[in-house]
């Protein structure tokens, strides 16, 4: 650029700035093209595709059990829930009824996964606001869950614990005890989160009333998960279309109507409490039985279309399978929550400052591989 071409900035003039692909608060390789007027955000244009891996295309070449390990790599923080969606779709298509034991274990691990995901979100949200200590407290507690996962599933993050028809292995003998210990431990630690961040007046000032999103807009934009529920959009798939062992547990859907950043935060904190309730109801009642149904070595889905909705930690996850009767899916589409939750970002953050944009995008809890697929 020549020196002559540099134009002086006037007060009304907007200037554009690239936030990302490498930026501390985009949580991955998301690129936001911002138009700013001073510090005021005038336009947010997300640019995706930096880690687009073509998972949907890859799935067309794989068999159903093989696709499961790819779903891990979408939203890696709620890997088990995503695994489950494919398994449930396949099981429903083949009309296989899995044993109750499988349902219970799946649900417990789902909820543990949800807590782990929300913990990491809490860490990162604190970081976005500038409270660096939150990161370590959240990770410290998350480590306990990952240990449970490692002992039972053999992996810490990308579990691949589900297979069509059940589970990869039976639960580890220590599983119940460890989970109960964790619940006891975390019930003590969660109030610490409130003392450190929720109650903090700076944090409340930073988030209350920021990034308001109405219920109508939330439905229209398909904003699901905790951000949707903070706007009053009752979108919890666990309540409306229960799967696995959710019908056996009593829990309430966390709903707020304020729809601002603080309540998106609050929904997640409350969901951690609620998840612990669900686990406590189920953990002692895991029925005896097989950990998997015997499936055919090559799983072929009957010709047709199958859709399975599950509630991932970030929102509604859906898998749409079109089968032509072969062992490979003809078309596999993942409705990923982050992809849909990204669309409202522009509308939420216009008119606020950059610092607010960071808080808002933090409260939407992006996992970029899930957007790009």
């Amino acid at each position: 650029m020549d020196a002559e071409k540099i134009q002086p900035l006037t007060e009304e003039q907007e200037f554009s700035i690239n936030m990302g692909p490498q930026h501390p608060s985009t949580h991955g390789v998301l690129r936001l093209m911002l138009k700013l007027q001073g510090e005021m955000v005038r336009e947010v244009k997300p640019q995706l595709g930096y880690i687009h891996r073509g998972i949907e295309k890859m799935c067309e070449k794989l068999t159903y059990p093989q696709t499961i390990h790819l779903t891990d790599r979408l939203d890696y923080l709620s890997a088990h829930i995503l695994n489950e969606s494919v398994c449930l779709a396949v099981e429903n298509a083949l009309e296989v009824e899995v044993p109750d034991r499988v349902k219970y274990v799946r649900t417990i691990i789902d909820e543990l996964n949800r807590i782990a995901s929300h913990q990491l979100w809490w860490c990162a949200f604190g970081m976005d606001l500038g409270a660096l200590t939150t990161f370590f407290y959240g990770l410290r507690d998350r480590e306990k869950i990952l240990d449970i996962f490692e002992e039972t599933c053999g992996a810490r993050l990308l579990l691949s614990y589900n297979v069509p028809g059940g589970l990869m292995f039976d639960i580890h003998p220590n599983f119940q005890k460890r989970t109960k210990d964790f619940i006891k431990y975390f019930r003590k630690k969660l109030p610490e989160y409130d003392a450190l961040l929720t109650g903090n007046p700076i944090m409340q000032e930073r988030t209350k009333g920021i990034g308001y999103f109405s219920k109508e807009d939330a439905i229209n934009f398909g904003l699901s998960g905790p951000p949707g529920r903070a706007s009053g959009f009752s979108c919890d798939v666990r309540v409306h279309q229960p799967y696995s062992a959710y019908p056996f547990a009593k829990f309430k859907e966390i709903l707020y109507t304020e729809g601002d950043t603080f309540h998106r935060y609050k929904v997640r904190i409350d969901e951690m409490w609620e998840s612990m309730n669900i686990i406590e109801q189920l953990i002692d009642n895991i029925p005896e039985g097989d950990f998997a149904v015997k499936m055919k070595p090559v799983i072929k889905l009957p010709e047709g279309e199958y859709y399975q909705r599950v509630e991932a930690a970030r929102g509604e996850f859906g898998v749409y399978i079109v089968s032509d009767g072969n062992k490979n899916p003809y078309r596999m589409k993942f409705r990923s929550p982050n992809f849909c939750n990204l669309a409202p970002l522009h509308k939420m953050s216009v008119g606020y400052k950059i610092a607010d944009l960071v808080a808002i995008s933090g409260s939407l809890d992006f996992v970029v591989p899930d957007m790009d697929r």
Binding site: L48, G49, H52, G54, E56, K57, N92, D217, I219, N220, F221, G222, S224, F233, S234, C235, H240, G304, E305, Y306, Y307, R309, E316, G318, Y320, V322, Y330, R331, K333, R335, F339, C340, L342, A343, P344, D372
Partner: protein, 152 residues
């Protein structure tokens, strides 16, 4: 609302719609020229109120494309699958439903990117994932990429 009542209602909206009761969802297939009209009615009618588009996708059936819209109603809690067939492979086009459901915005950009289906009246019809100079539409069945795809 029960599926059979829904079926009757949609039959009233568009008589030529082809309705099949699927295992999971009621499936309505219409011609692509009638899609937007029906979608508008489905969204705005007091009895249906399909206000939540939770998935929008396209499927390549080799000689035609099928647009698939998964709809949900947050008041009545019923679901519906709306389908529209696009036979033109060279220059596939369909009306955008972006004005009805904002959620369709990104989904349609994705479909445009990966299937090459152009949406009429879409506010921002750009590629979303791939580079602007990417040749071909990867999710089409006839897509060949000798460089990046390793056949085994």
């Amino acid at each position: 609302m029960e599926n059979n009542k829904l079926q009757e209602l949609i039959q009233n909206f568009t008589p030529e719609a082809e309705i099949t009761a699927g295992k999971q969802f009621l499936t309505v297939t219409v011609d692509k020229s009638r899609l937007h009209e029906l979608a508008k009615k489905l969204k705005e009618s007091e009895e249906t109120q399909f206000d939540y588009l939770f998935c929008e996708s396209a499927v390549d059936y080799n000689d035609y494309f099928m647009m698939v819209y998964h709809l949900d109603s947050t008041t009545h809690r019923h679901q519906l699958v709306l389908k529209a067939k696009i036979t033109d492979r060279e220059n596939p086009e369909i009306d955008s439903v972006c004005d009805l459901w904002e959620a369709a915005n990104y989904h349609e950009r994705e479909i445009f990117d990966l299937f090459g289906i152009r949406f009429i009246n879409h506010p921002d019809m750009r590629k979303i994932f791939l580079d602007n100079d990417w040749v071909g539409f990867p999710l089409r069945k006839d897509y060949v990429d000798k460089v990046n795809v390793v056949e085994r």
